[in-house]
Symmetry: C2
Subunit: 270 residues, 2 copies
């Protein structure tokens, strides 16, 4: 099985991919769009992408991709994230801190408190940051300890994220919808008529009246107008469950566009 | 009147501040937290901060700040955003692109298409980026044309944002709640009991049943658990309006925490 993910090696994405499948051939891509396209066009069987972090919130670019592709979400992986500060040099000499924007965001207070004067630069991944830090002893990368090993950096400090509950949820894209397991989740994207007061309330009512639990709601700018949103909603259950099927069918009449992004087994945090 | 904002000079924040007040003394701060604190502690009368962009969505850090301070939102400014690519050098030689993460995000496709091999670095503001680009002819900054002028850069390309409808909404923090004008908006932050199915639906019902229009809803990670959120909700009307006062009082019984962030005159896009 070919499983594609955001490269290079040694990132949290690789750890999530290994948690999803021990045996898959991992195909590393340059950006998140390429991961989605590889699954969509059949170059890979499955692809794994980060969708939200418990500190920094949604990964907006991935939410945008989900609107454009037809490959369903077939699974999810929840990965605990421990950010490390690593460098060739020593703590006193760090003048530049590099990492992916999400990782920098997760350590905002730590950086502000311990390196108030440092220049902060972003890279496309935490692993790129580690590779870059190989070259300059005054530079520290933030990322997982695996990439320190891989790029010959010292871990100067472990667990520097601002809050202890740091998890990233990844979704797995595939070819064929996952079968019901009795412990499932369904992800939807909805575009409502913004000019009708109470449209979102009406919409959520179809779930509430059927006692269907909503586990997540995110709004994402439609890019058409300020204040015009897509809503991304996760509910418990599989789209083939009778109640959820009924709710989705009722909802289709209530909104301009409703896209079922996939039904798949729920992952637990532990 | 002392109005503080994110510095340095020449950013979209300065344009928004001038749209809010022609005559105020502008006090430039190093980061957004300092703007909020200056108002909270009385060092400035008012402060202006970006809260959402029509392409990139909410400014998460500002939403976090609003939970921590007691200064009310007293107004808003909507600013059209035209991003420019500017440099001391010429288009062919650009190898590094620098800007604030929001500006980079607004131009993601443009950068990907026209500078696929360029290194992308972030700075604390678009103006910092322009200042940095002064030094290196192979570097281009993304920001407003005002900062090109200020830092002696050539505008190589104008309007490079990926979508034409690019607006940023700013909020103004002040000391004293704004009086009702008949064309107002009220911003709330709400923490619901996540273990109760339908809690958000119930909550929104208090507005829907009173025909109070909701203009915005955003979720923001509570940083306690994955899937645990604060909701930021904007509704039409002033907290002193009878119907809205009634709704807010009913809502206080329905959620763990409800914070009224402010009632203030609505700005229009034009």
């Amino acid at each position: 099985m070919k499983l594609c993910l955001l490269g290079p090696e040694g990132t949290f994405s690789e750890m999530a991919a290994r948690k999803w499948s021990r045996d898959a051939d991992l195909i590393f891509m340059d950006d998140m769009e390429s991961v989605a396209i590889a699954v969509e066009e059949g170059a890979c069987d499955e692809g794994i992408l980060p969708i939200e972090n418990s500190l920094e919130g949604p990964v907006g670019a991935v939410m945008g991709l989900l609107l454009d592709i037809s490959s369903p979400i077939i699974g999810e992986v929840i990965l605990p994230i421990k950010q490390c500060l690593m460098s060739r040099g020593s703590l006193e000499n760090i003048r530049i801190i590099v990492s992916h924007p999400q990782a920098l965001g997760q350590c905002r207070h730590y950086i502000h408190e311990h390196f108030p004067g440092a220049e902060v630069r972003t890279t496309g991944s935490t692993s790129h940051a580690a590779r870059l830090a190989q070259e300059f002893p005054e530079m520290a990368a933030i990322g997982c300890s695996e990439s320190a090993q891989k790029y010959g950096l010292k871990v100067l400090k472990e667990g520097i994220q601002d809050h202890p509950n740091n998890y990233t949820r990844f979704i797995v894209l595939g070819r064929k919808e996952a079968a019901p397991t009795g412990h499932d989740k369904t992800s939807l994207a909805v575009y409502l008529d913004r000019d009708r007061p109470g449209a979102l309330y009406d919409f959520l009512g179809e779930f509430a009246h059927r006692q269907i639990n909503m586990t997540r709601i995110e709004s994402r700018p439609s890019k058409k107008l300020l204040g015009d949103y897509w809503f991304f909603i996760d509910v418990e259950g599989h789209r083939d469950d009778a109640l959820l099927r009924e709710a989705i069918s009722a909802l289709k009449d209530k909104c301009t566009t409703l896209k079922v992004l996939g039904s798949y087994p729920r992952a637990d945090i532990a």
